[in-house]
């Protein structure tokens, strides 16, 4: 029996690796939960170590929306005539929603890298709770997006945006933004598992732009050609941006349509609907990795 292993070294007599303590798979539900928690924590630890090793990448990712804010507020903002407020009051909530929506690529890219490098296979050949791979990914992405959100709120305050509502309502707005991010997370996991190829990541990275601009993030859907305006109104990102404007008591684009009158409800309903579709799809795809 292989109690011991020897491995190379330039010692004259081969030394032996001590065997690891005998371990076996969890049997009770409590043991399963304990393993899931421990493995998820290890996955998070891995992500944090990656951030610490590549701070530049992290900072660039976090500052990208800030750059967009500066571009739109100062380069284009001068030409934006809006009723009932300053352009930043419209723009900042829109960009907060956009930042969350763009999280989709982030999730997709990191997952795709793990698949292509074979890291996912190595994890799956280990006695871990496999769901820890997704739980860890979710925790890391949500943490990163929360940090990104706080940075953007700070940057928004610097360009002159203010919220006028209660603190509770502001927290509600943040919660809605994170809910949107959570829905994007699962779409990202699904796409990463389905596509798993750098070319498709690139396609998604390009396609998020028209989807992001076909919304109320930067301008009123009323200014768009009719059918496009309707599409933009029904964009899940528009729902969140509209609801966030309401909760921050920032001015909103011309009200009157059913969608904009029910923005908060839409901002809850859309992400939940997306989650109802993409969580099962992603989980099925994940389970099918062994097929």
């Amino acid at each position: 029996m292989n109690d011991h292993l020897t491995v190379p070294g330039d010692r004259p007599t081969r030394t032996r690796l001590a065997p690891t303590p005998s371990r076996s798979a969890p049997t009770s539900a409590a043991q399963h939960v304990a393993r899931l928690l421990a493995d998820s924590a290890t996955m998070v630890r891995r992500g944090l170590a990656q951030w610490a090793r590549t701070p530049g990448q992290l900072v660039v990712g976090l500052l990208f929306p800030v750059m967009m804010l500066v571009m739109f507020a100062y380069f284009l903002g001068g030409g934006m005539a809006v009723e009932g407020g300053d352009y930043p009051d419209y723009l900042v909530p829109g960009l907060l929603a956009l930042t969350m929506a763009f999280g989709l690529e982030e999730t997709m890219v990191t997952l795709t890298q793990d698949i292509n490098k074979g890291v996912l296979d190595r994890f799956r050949s280990m006695p871990i709770a496999e769901s820890a791979i997704l739980v860890g990914r979710s925790l890391l992405d949500m943490l990163r997006s929360t940090i990104g959100l706080l940075i953007m709120i700070g940057a928004g305050l610097l360009v002159g945006w203010r919220w006028h509502g209660t603190f509770a309502a502001a927290l509600g707005a943040v919660a809605l933004l994170l809910l949107l991010r959570f829905a994007m997370l699962w779409i990202g996991i699904y796409l990463g598992l389905v596509a798993g190829k750098p070319e498709l990541v690139q396609a998604v990275q390009i396609l998020v732009w028209p989807v992001a601009f076909l919304s109320n993030a930067f301008t009123s859907p009323d200014t768009m050609p009719g059918w496009m305006g309707r599409l933009a109104e029904w964009n899940p990102m528009s729902a969140t941006a509209g609801a966030v404007r309401d909760l921050f008591e920032n001015p909103n684009w011309s009200a009157g349509s059913w969608v904009s009158d029910n923005a908060v409800m839409m901002a809850i309903g859309w992400p939940l609907a997306l989650l109802a579709i993409f969580v099962p799809l992603a989980l099925r795809r994940f389970a099918a990795l062994g097929k």
Binding site: D3, V7, G9, L17, A25, F123, S125, P127, G290
Partner: protein
Amino acid sequence: MFSRDGTDAVAVQALTKSYGDKQALAGVDLTIPRGVVHGLLGPNGAGKTTMVRILATLLRPSTGHATVAGFDVLREPDEVRYRIGLLGQHAALDQDLSGRQNLELFARLYHLGADGARGRTRELLERFDLTDAAAKPVKQYSGGMRRRLDLAASLITAPDVLFLDEPTTGLDPRGRAEVWDAVRSLADGGTTVLLTTQYLEEADQLADRISVVQRGRIIADGTADDLKGRLGADRLDVVVHDAAQVSSAVPLVQAAAQADDVVADQDRRLISAPVTDRMSALSTSLRSLEDAGIEIEDVALRRPTLDEVFLHLTGDEPIEHTTPEVSA
């Protein structure tokens, strides 16, 4: 250590795997006793990786049965996973993290605890001669170092069975030698190894037993010597100076090699024959060619290429890739 007693390291019966119409494994039986290094030799797409992925619990077979260290890969995957190590075709490492961080991360996922993970990592880094590079990010490692770290990561639990999927593909000769050394000393220590390779030489160097795989089936099985015997051993290649003399040289080489299946290539002015008695075949053919006044440009004794192995075993068309040749 904690394999089920009295079981083979790997036992596979009637294993198949299909993707739609495509059959990756077409019914494989394989038994690997403990402590043996077993090579799966075959070209790309023969089903080697599919086999390893099924045994490493990454892939479910379509039909058939497989146990590793006595545990069923389908019904007891967790038990299998505590007892195997897997080295995939690509270094499955976090390039941005250091060697130490990589190993500690994987050790935690084997549930060794914080202290256990640190201790095991220190031990593995030292054994694989990576202590000096431990703090550097893996992307700064050489190919051979990366592969050694990868190998160390697959040995965290001191596995009963180690799967190596084309462990030296893409490595330079030095990296290849490093990995071969590591595998040899693991084998000396009694680890069961299942190794896939496209290179006859690699299987020959490392494996106690070899299964030749083609189109999802094992088409030949045995020790390296058994197979070499069946493969027609070494080959004698003679290149004559004048293309017009190829046809008159063939019977002379054939007589000297005492072989029926001599191959002549008019364009390359090459006559190639399998030989059993190398030196006698070489000296006899040189002498009789000289006596017949046929000028020789080049002569070589070499190991059969994988293409020739496959041709011999299957009578099939040659496979589509090149293999390193060993010239005499």
